[in-house]
Each structure stands twice: as C-alpha cells, then as structure tokens.
C-alpha cells in the first residue's frame, strides 16, 4: 500500500500535485510550479517534506564507533558530538548501496537514509553489527528541510539559538515545549536546516514556518535545486554500479581510512592509486536542449563514451545542465562532447560542479 507522510493533508490543502515516490505519496509541486518554487528557495525560504527518508537511530557507546567504522569509510572517532558527515553504504566491490548522512548523537548515531533504500540498509547494517546494538528506524518522526537565505531568521523566531549552528552540525532544541533535533544541512546548495520532529507536531511546526514567510516546495524543485548544486541523487547519479571514486566523491572517504578495512576498501584504494575508467562530470549543453538521464554521450570523434545520469533546466543558472559518466580520458574541464537527444547530436562541454555556487554558513570545504 502506498504510504503517506504526516503532512499529507497539508500538501492537499496547498494544492500539491501528488505522485508516488519510493512508496510514498509525495508532492512533486504546488500551485506556483517548479521554477517559482526553485527561485523562492534560492531567494527566500522553502519548506520540504522529506519524511519519507529513513531516520535510523543506533544506540551504543565506544564499541559502536569502532564497529560502525567497519561499515562506513569515515573517521567516526574524530566526529564531534552533533557533527554530521556524508558517507556511503558500500558492498565488497565498493559499489554504493546508499548514500547517507551520519550524525553523532549523545546516545549513539543517527543516520539519514534514502527512502527507497532504508529497509534494505537497516537489514544490512543490523547484520554487519551482528545484532549487537539497538537499531530503530523511526516511523514516529517526520523530517522537514528548511532551505534558503532566510531559513535561519525564520527558524530562529520559533527555535531559539538555532542560527548559531554551523554547517554540518546539529543539536537538540525546543519548539514550544517539545524536543526537536536540528542539523544545519540540506540538499539545495543553500544554507538551511533539517528538522526531526514527532509526527503529531509536524503540521503545527510547518504552519508556523509558513506564517513566518516560508513556502511549501515540492520534489520537482528539490531535484532542480540539487542538480544546480551538483549533488548526486541515489538511483540516478550513483547506484549499485558505481563507486564513490567513479562518482567523483573521493572527498567523502576520510584520508586516514584509505589504508584501513571497510567494505570495498581494497577497491577504493586501488581506484585512488591507479584511477578509474569512468568518472562523473558536470556537463553543460551549448543550447537549451535538456539531456535527461540515459542520454548517450559521444566524443568529438563520434565515439560513444558515456551516459547522462541527471539533466534538467537550471532555473537559477538559466541554462540547461546535466551530469553523467564519461571515459576518464574525456573528463578534463572544457572537453567537447556531444549528447544524442531525439536523434540529434547536441554540442556540450565538461564543466565544473556545482553549477550554482553554494551559500553555506561557515561551510566546511568538503566538495
């Protein structure tokens, strides 16, 4: 059966167009449409219901840190309380089963997982931890993203102290009398927050944000925003056929973990040392044609050299944008490529990611 989030009625009230996404009925857009919603997020403050994503709590002490390092390629010992890092769940071939955000909390760790992967992830992580810990994929919590340059001021009005958080850090806060957990993070290339809150308070919380000038934003604009920010979508840009090195996400592998053990560590080390055959790059078509996922990429010599994994029209950069995998020898900046769209070869160039410059608060240089 198709699932609904606790904001379902609110989405309907705001005239959302609903679609099925990862087993949930989710808003693709509201009445303003994707472009207006996108631009509003960049200039003001958008609210996104991302309650379909998994919130996995793992409870434990020091041993848990050690045991999780056997699963994730990051230096968890160095993670401060309430600090977050981007990471992956990989298999022995270093292929990505999910990408995720892991945060150290006082009782253990909180991992935010993709909706389509969360049940599988839970099973895999549980097994790898030999059932030694208490793992809870919370169904009683909603997840809300508040994104945009005004997010900090709008949220601070109702949640005191939140504007002092640094990017990729979080903490426990109060909204009215209830406890909420907030991290300064997001998926839009803007400053913003993700708020974990009990299901029965989420509607009230969102209504407060709306009355302070924020607007509901659908998954359509979430997708165009993340593409402009050069961020990967699991299932499109990364999946079980790609490794973090091929995905050009080497920065997310902690340096002091490269020589240690975790699933896929041998392959990651080899790929770092001797390179990869295919690599993810940013691609800018020379005209307005949109090259969507699975568009074939050709070289100047008309040789097929790769595939687009995501493509759209970027409303803030006012240009068609895409990303995809090409043979490594064609990955240099400004390499001329051709994209086959409806039988025509559209000229394009390899370009830097992100397409849109980020505005993170005291952002760590991690992209």
């Amino acid at each position: 059966m198709i699932k609904k989030t606790s904001l379902y009625n609110l989405h309907k009230k705001h005239n959302a167009k609903l679609i099925e996404f990862a087993g949930y009925e989710m808003p693709i857009q509201y009445k303003d449409g994707i472009i207006q919603e996108h631009k509003f997020t960049r200039s003001n403050c958008g609210i996104f219901d991302v309650s379909h994503m998994g919130q996995l709590f793992i409870y434990g002490k020091e041993n848990l840190t050690k045991d999780l390092e056997n699963i994730f390629p990051i230096d968890l010992k160095k993670l401060n309380l309430n600090q977050s890092k981007y990471s992956f769940l990989m298999d022995e071939n270093a292929c990505i089963h999910d990408d995720l955000i892991i945060t150290k909390i006082s009782e253990g760790y909180l991992i935010i997982l993709n909706a389509a992967c969360k049940e599988d992830d839970l099973r895999i992580i549980k097994k790898k931890l030999n059932n030694n810990y208490d793992l809870q994929l919370k169904e009683d919590l909603s997840l809300i993203a508040l994104q945009g340059p005004r997010a900090k001021d709008i949220l601070e009005k109702k949640v005191e102290g939140v504007s002092k958080l640094k990017f990729m850090n979080g903490g426990n806060f109060k909204f009215s009398d209830i406890n909420i957990f907030i991290t300064r993070s997001g998926y839009t290339g803007e400053d913003g927050f993700e708020i974990s809150i009990k299901n029965n308070y989420v509607e009230k919380f969102v209504e407060e944000m709306l009355s302070n000038g924020s607007k509901m934003i659908g998954l359509g604009a979430r997708d165009t925003l993340r593409m402009e920010a050069g961020l990967c979508l699991y299932g499109n840009d990364i999946d079980k056929n790609t490794t973090p090195i091929e995905a050009n996400l080497k920065w997310a592998i902690s340096k002091n973990r490269i020589d240690t053990n975790y699933p896929g560590s041998k392959i990651i080390k080899k790929q770092i040392q001797s390179g990869v055959e295919k690599i993810r790059v940013g691609i800018k078509p020379e005209n307005r044609v949109i090259a969507r996922g699975n568009t074939k990429i050709f070289s100047n010599e008309d040789k097929e050299i790769g595939k687009i994994t995501s493509g759209t029209f970027g409303p803030s950069v006012d240009h068609s944008i895409a990303m995809g995998y090409v043979n490594n020898q064609y990955s240099d900046l400004n390499t001329k490529l051709f994209l086959e769209v409806r039988g025509k070869k559209i000229p394009a160039n390899v370009c830097n990611l992100p397409f849109y410059k980020k505005n993170y608060f005291k952002g760590e240089i991690n992209v």
């Binding site: 449409g33 472009i35 359509g220 307005r288 044609v289 409303p315 409806r342």
Partner: protein, 126 residues
Amino acid sequence: MSDIKYSKEHEWLKLDGDIATIGITKHATEMLGDIVFAELPEKGSSVEKNGTAGVVESTKAASDVYTPISGEVVDTNQTIVDDPSKINADPEGEAWFFKLKIKDIKELDALMNKDDYDKFAKESSQ
C-alpha cells in the same frame, strides 16, 4: 472564417484563408508545467496529419507536439524558442508554434470546437 479548432493531442488551430496557425492549448501547458524548451519544425518542410512537428520540454519531461493537419510549414514562432516561458504565459495567443499552408481542408472536420474540447480535456484529466 477564423474560429478555433482543437485536437485530441491538445493542439489548437486557427484558420485564416488557407493558412492555419497552430499551437498547444492552455490545458496542455497546465498538464506539462513550466516549459523550458521548445523545438519547431523547419520552415519549408512538409508535415503530415498527426505527425510530430515539434517538441516541448517542461522541467519534468519532454513531449512531442503533433500537427492536427497536413501542410507546408510557412512560418515558425522563434520568440518561443528564445523564451519558452511565453508558452505558459499565453499559449493560445502570442505563443503560437507554426503556420501551415493547408493541404486538405477536409482534415479540419475531425477536429473539435471549443465546447467539445473543454469537455474532452476535463474528462481526460480525471
């Protein structure tokens, strides 16, 4: 005669002498969402009834534009190629797609009038 006819593929057609101006309906733009790209047929080319005569892309997906009748393309509206948002703004006015010199006026008989189209659009979106 200048009344407007409509196709089941959500194109509109306005006849002036033997020249038909063709575009997509307001209903079509509402279904598509924000249009960000438009491709038009070549001027001077011939198009066949119900054949592809262009493409529009919204932020969500690409859709073919069909011609409801056959004819020779005598003019195209480059302003919508340069600024596709015009299609959402005024689909049944300024944002026409192309003009055809019609081949067979009988082809127009298969098209709907406004009332029938409105009814069809309402039913097909339910």
